[in-house]
């Protein structure tokens, strides 16, 4: 399965936000939300994008599906460049690439019955006749753990967890090849979160869908994702398979991230790395390696030179001078 071309290839993706005023050429402060990120996802894999606020993970997610324009770089879906194709071509491709949103209370139209919300894309893309849609909606609701009797209800009659299931049903009813899930469980309580995580695992197994799973919760990512990329201030710090990253993390930031996650075991004694200082202001990122201002092992060259994103072992990349 490895030799095949990857389903998703992201090459030197850049996304800059900035108030570059055309009339009053002031020194517009440019924010490099995504700064030259590259990775690829093979068919059937679940790729995890981990990072704290301001790391650019959501921006990458939206840019890949062209829900946002990009400043530079390429996004290839099954070899086709998403940002070059015409609006018509993109629209026809939409059912193949879907998105699951974070906030259960804002991702559903409050004035549209749940059944219609799930089934409307099928109608709009004329993927099947009108009378068949209802059947498909019921079927996909069952898969997502919703009772089909609730088709005619409105979103405000559902709990957070149920709304997230509706969002998932809306995405998978189109039989997509690729789904970007942007922090799909972070707004939920632990018991509901576990239900949705299991639902994701079931979809991975039964539907063979390729996922890009975006989250700030390292334990959820470890559970669901086969490959993980660690982002900091728009730059990829480390990338590798689950075992490579969790059992032998190389980048100081990855190590700090993993050690910062509180473990529900009071007797566990482990050496904790507690980073100093705050996440820098994205419009004025530090020079050289962006992490050097908080890195406990930072040396002079970290301040000057941007570390190269090199493959230290098969499939395990890291951007750090000390490794």
């Amino acid at each position: 399965m490895k030799g095949q071309t990857p389903l998703i290839e992201v090459k030197n993706l850049k996304k800059y936000f900035g108030e570059s005023d055309r009339f009053f050429k002031r020194n517009a402060s440019i924010v490099k939300a995504v700064d030259n990120v590259s990775f690829s996802i093979n068919r059937g894999e679940t790729f995890g994008l981990v990072g704290e606020s301001g790391s650019g993970k959501s921006t990458i997610g939206k840019s890949i599906l062209r829900l946002q324009s990009i400043t530079d770089g390429e996004v290839l879906f099954d070899g086709k460049n998403l940002h070059q194709m015409s609006k018509k071509e993109l629209r026809d491709l939409r059912p193949k690439i879907q998105f699951i949103f974070q906030d259960p209370y804002s991702s559903l139209n409050p004035r549209l019955r749940v059944g219609d919300a799930i089934g409307e894309a099928l109608l709009d893309h004329e993927l099947c006749e009108k009378h068949v849609v209802e059947e498909k909606v019921k079927e996909v609701m069952e898969i997502c753990g919703l009772s089909k009797d609730q088709m005619n209800r409105y979103p405000h009659e559902f709990s957070g967890g149920q709304r997230q299931r509706i969002g998932i049903a809306r995405a998978i009813i189109l039989q997509p090849d690729f789904i970007v899930a942007d922090e799909p469980v972070s707004a939920l309580d632990v018991s509901i979160q576990a239900q949705i995580i299991n639902l994701f695992s079931k979809l991975q197994r039964q539907k063979n869908i390729t996922f890009l799973f975006i989250s700030h919760d390292l334990s959820v990512v470890e559970h669901l994702c086969s490959h993980i990329g660690v982002l900091y201030l728009g730059t990829m710090m480390e990338l590798g398979s689950r075992d490579q990253l969790y059992s032998k993390p190389l980048h100081p930031y990855t190590k700090a991230l993993i050690s910062a996650v509180p473990i529900p075991n009071p007797t566990l004694k482990r050496e904790r790395i507690i980073l100093k200082g705050d996440i820098p202001n994205p419009s004025k990122p530090p020079s050289g390696c962006k992490f050097h201002t908080r890195c406990p092992y930072a040396i002079d060259s970290c301040k000057i030179e941007v570390p190269e994103f090199k493959e230290v072992e098969k499939g395990h990349f890291v951007a750090c001078h000390l490794v």
Binding site: D21, F23, F24, R26, N281
Partner: protein, 319 residues
């Protein structure tokens, strides 16, 4: 902040330009004018005046002449007063100004007080009462309120003069004059205040309710501060912040004069002059006056943003 103001200034130009076009062509649509309306002018005299005021030029040319003068600060020449419009406005504006200023201060003081109080004591009897008063004030036709007030206070009770600025025929000076004008001012100011109080009170009440729900009010209480301090130091400051922009929107009304109230109380302000000019088709005055108000409106919008920028630290102090 500076860039933002420059941008706003940049957008002001087309708006003002658009307003001048609209005003000029609207007035030009109205057939007949001051000269025709004057019966005792002979035919050639009228032709002469036409020539003098350039009435027989095509509309576009007349517009550019008018615009040219406008840019030179000349608002046109009032036929009725035989004075430049600017001067006419200058003479009458101050009597409108004092009434508008008095009612502005009164309206704002009362609106802030009862608006804040009814928000702090939400769901109380006081709050429901204020809501009813607010709805009533917003539903009263201004001219009708004027008539009712005159009927009760001037006619039936006879406490106050029914209209005008000074007792007819009196030429008092100094302190006497001021007392007389003040006496004449009471009813118009009362009417203007009653009209203005509704919307503003409701605005402050809604604002205050919004602010009271904020987290930092709860933090202030958690610090053990007196309720008075929590509401007035923390709450009020944030509730009044957006009101600054609202205050600058009052400027046009301050200078524009309350056309209706001045008419009802035949108060010799710029509003009454406007109505008079209207009935005798003194277009230069009408046009000059309307563009004058448009200019003030646009300026006040800009002032609103500048004041807001200064008042709100989140805008004044960059991250």
């Amino acid at each position: 902040m500076k860039g933002y103001i420059l941008k706003r200034l940049f957008y002001m130009i087309p708006t003002l330009f658009g307003a001048s076009i609209l005003i000029f062509f609207l007035y030009s649509l109205v057939p007949g004018n001051f000269i025709d309306a004057d019966p005792n002018l002979t035919a050639e005299r009228k032709a002469e005046l036409y020539e003098l005021h350039g009435y027989n030029e095509p509309v576009f040319i007349r517009y550019f002449i008018w615009l040219g003068n406008l840019l030179k600060g000349d608002l046109g020449y009032s036929l009725q007063f035989q004075l430049p419009v600017g001067e006419v406005i200058g003479n009458y504006i101050w009597s409108s100004f004092i009434v508008a200023l008095a009612s502005l201060i009164l309206t704002w003081v009362i609106a802030i007080l009862i608006g804040i109080m009814s928000a702090v004591r939400q769901y109380s009897l006081f709050d429901t009462l204020i809501t009813v008063v607010v709805f009533a004030a917003m539903a009263t036709p201004s001219f009708f309120l004027g008539l009712i007030v005159i009927k009760i206070f001037a006619v039936d009770l006879g406490w106050l003069p029914a209209g005008g600025m000074i007792a007819t025929g009196s030429n008092l000076t100094g302190w006497e004059y001021i007392k007389d004008v003040a006496e004449h001012m009471v009813l118009p100011v009362l009417v203007l205040t009653m009209l203005g109080i509704g919307g503003l009170t409701r605005y402050f009440r809604t604002n205050m309710l919004e602010v009271i729900k904020q987290d930092f009010i709860r933090t202030a209480r958690a610090k053990g501060l007196k309720e008075r301090v929590v509401i007035f130091k923390h709450g009020l400051r944030n509730a009044l912040l957006p009101a600054i922009t609202l205050f600058s929107f009052e400027l046009p009304a301050l200078f524009g004069g309350a056309i209706i109230t001045e008419q009802i109380f035949n108060w010799p302000g710029i509003g009454a002059v406007y109505m008079q000019a209207f009935s005798i088709r003194d277009y230069p005055l009408l046009m000059g006056f309307t563009i004058f108000i448009a200019l003030i409106t646009v300026m006040s919008n800009l002032l609103a943003d500048i004041f807001y920028g200064i008042a709100d630290p989140r805008v004044r102090v960059r991250k």
